[in-house]
């Protein structure tokens, strides 16, 4: 079991927004598996249920709790919203229900204040796209930013840490893919800009 952060005792809900092919569903699952390794008894992760296609806006849900999670519907009042493609911010669904004091974590080259989003939640940004391009973490020429954004999450929400994410990544990948994904996570962790509301 990973040392460090104490377990959060409240149900923590994350909603993911991305485009088909960016790996939002996989990232939602990796975070759930990392939380389980960290000692959380209750975790669930699921895609928004439907027929997804490459490029269309999609969402996914992760729930983390020290108790078994009994609700497996889609997350409606997220503690954190993770956005893999900043162009999705124009859709009202993306910020819908984000709790007061929660986190909006966006893959963007802009500083949180430059996003011009106002709300009683904190904002973090990280340019995961740039890091994936630099590392060659692309499929068919398109950056696959899901694992990189795990670094931004570990930096921001204090529920999971890099060590447990790394364990899951090591189970899922091997060889060059493993090293590239780990590098993307660490580098994104380092460049993440968390901006706490006052």
């Amino acid at each position: 079991m990973a040392k460090g952060l104490p377990l959060n005792t409240k149900l923590y809900e994350i909603r993911w927004h991305g485009r088909g092919g960016q790996g939002a569903v996989t990232a939602a699952k990796i975070v759930a598996q990392a939380a389980l390794l960290k000692g959380y008894q209750g975790v669930t992760a699921a895609p928004s249920f439907g027929a997804e296609r490459r490029g269309i806006p999609i969402s996914a849900s992760t729930r983390i709790s020290s108790q078994p999670v009994m609700v497996i519907s889609q997350v409606e009042t997220p503690d954190a919203v993770v956005v893999l493609d900043h162009t999705l911010l124009k859709y009202p669904d993306v910020l819908s229900g984000l709790v007061s004091g929660g986190w909006l974590i966006v893959n963007s080259w802009q500083h949180p204040r430059e996003l011009n989003i106002r709300g009683d939640f904190n904002i973090a940004t990280a340019d995961a796209t740039k890091i994936c391009r630099e590392l060659g973490l692309t499929v068919g020429g398109f950056p696959v930013v899901n694992t990189a954004m795990l670094g931004a999450i570990a930096r921001t929400i204090q529920i999971i840490d890099l060590a447990s994410i790394e364990k899951v990544i090591r189970e899922r990948f091997s060889g060059d893919a493993l090293q590239t994904n780990l590098a993307a996570i660490t580098r994104t962790f380092e460049i993440t800009r968390p901006e706490i509301i006052r």
Partner: protein, 341 residues
């Protein structure tokens, strides 16, 4: 015997159960939201983790027909389907139960077209309500894993010899990652003995199965089948009891939640009973005497257990995920008339 908790998608947990059961044959056709189960099984066969015959067929009708054949020669047989796929194999389902072939199938419950829908409801389950299979509903990924393992044992018990359908709500269970405790291979091996068909199809010792049956024979065969299905409950109870010793997880035909002193009860099958428990906890905190009845064994229908669990409640709210067009009540309510005093 029990392994540590892992985070795994419901579909993959089911594939693990099928692998642990050392299934001999899988014949399947992919259909959302069941596809991940048979895809994973195909991977297991391809990479040598599972020594089984994987038969990719061109339709669900063929899938179930192939299952008839493999089960009849004495091979432990599994398949999975959903919705339109189940409809396409419909007529063959009756053949499986009437020929008393212990096939195990997972049904990832999904709505039936039109309009085209891939989302969960129980219309597919209700359309095969009377096909003579033992039918069991799981509420989460752990139960899906457990109940599929138990299904092989139940189906292949000589006193039963009937196919078993394990229902899981499409997406809610099939596509959600949840904590699941798998079992060790040795434990499963001791729990599920070798499948032996008493009169297998064998060219050296020819037998006829499902032959032409004139009315007197047909009536006798159907009566025998009905008696066997009703009697299977005793075996189901035994198998679940034995499984609880193995795993520490206990299953019953009907399970209550805060039902004992409840005035108002919900009656639910499948995954959203867990959501109902959260609602009931909140209503109880406000002093409302509400509870839940979870129907796990759908066929044979557990009249006696249901009557016991319902207790003294004066209202039962049935949350049915199927519609009975033109009928007076949804499908589950039709059963209700039999057990309400």
């Amino acid at each position: 015997m029990v392994k540590k908790m892992i985070g795994i998608e419901g579909s993959f947990a089911i594939a693990e159960a099928v692998k642990l059961a050392r299934v001999d044959a899988v014949a399947a056709y992919p259909i959302t939201p069941q596809t991940h189960i048979v895809e994973r099984l195909a991977e297991f066969v391809a990479n040598g983790e599972l020594d089984a015959e994987y038969i990719p067929v061109e339709s669900e009708h063929s899938a179930m027909s192939a299952c008839l054949g493999t089960s009849a020669v004495g091979a432990r047989t599994f398949t999975a389907t959903a919705s339109q796929g189940l409809e396409l194999m419909h007529e063959v389902l009756y053949v499986a139960s009437s020929m008393r072939l212990p096939i195990v199938m997972t049904l990832a419950n999904r709505a039936i077209s039109a309009p085209l829908s891939i989302w969960t409801d129980h219309c597919d389950a209700m359309a095969v309500r009377d096909c003579g299979w033992i039918q069991i509903f799981a509420e989460n990924a752990q139960q899906a894993f457990d109940l599929v393992l138990c299904a092989f044992r139940i189906a292949e018990t000589p006193a039963v010899f009937l196919p078993v359908m394990v229902h899981i709500d499409g997406f809610y269970i099939s596509h959600t990652i949840e904590p699941v405790q798998l079992l060790e291979q040795e434990a499963v091996d001791s729990f599920i003995p070798e499948y032996r068909h008493p009169y297998p199809l064998d060219p050296d010792r020819p037998v006829t199965m499902g032959a032409f049956g004139p009315p007197p024979i047909y009536t006798e065969a159907k009566k025998a089948q009905e008696v066997a299905l009703r009697a299977s409950k005793a075996v189901i109870l035994e198998v679940w009891q034995e499984f609880s010793l193995l795993s520490g997880r206990h299953y019953s035909p009907v399970e209550g939640y805060e039902a004992g002193d409840a005035d108002v009860l919900f009656l639910i099958m499948g995954s959203f009973s867990e959501t109902a428990m959260v609602a009931i906890d909140r209503m109880r905190a406000k002093g409302q005497k509400v509870g839940l009845v979870r129907l796990r064994l759908w066929r044979p229908f557990p009249v006696q257990e249901l009557r016991q669990t319902v207790g003294k409640a004066w209202v039962i709210i049935v949350l049915d995920r199927a519609i009975s067009f033109g009928g007076r009540d949804p499908s589950v309510l039709k059963s209700r008339r039999r057990f309400i005093p």
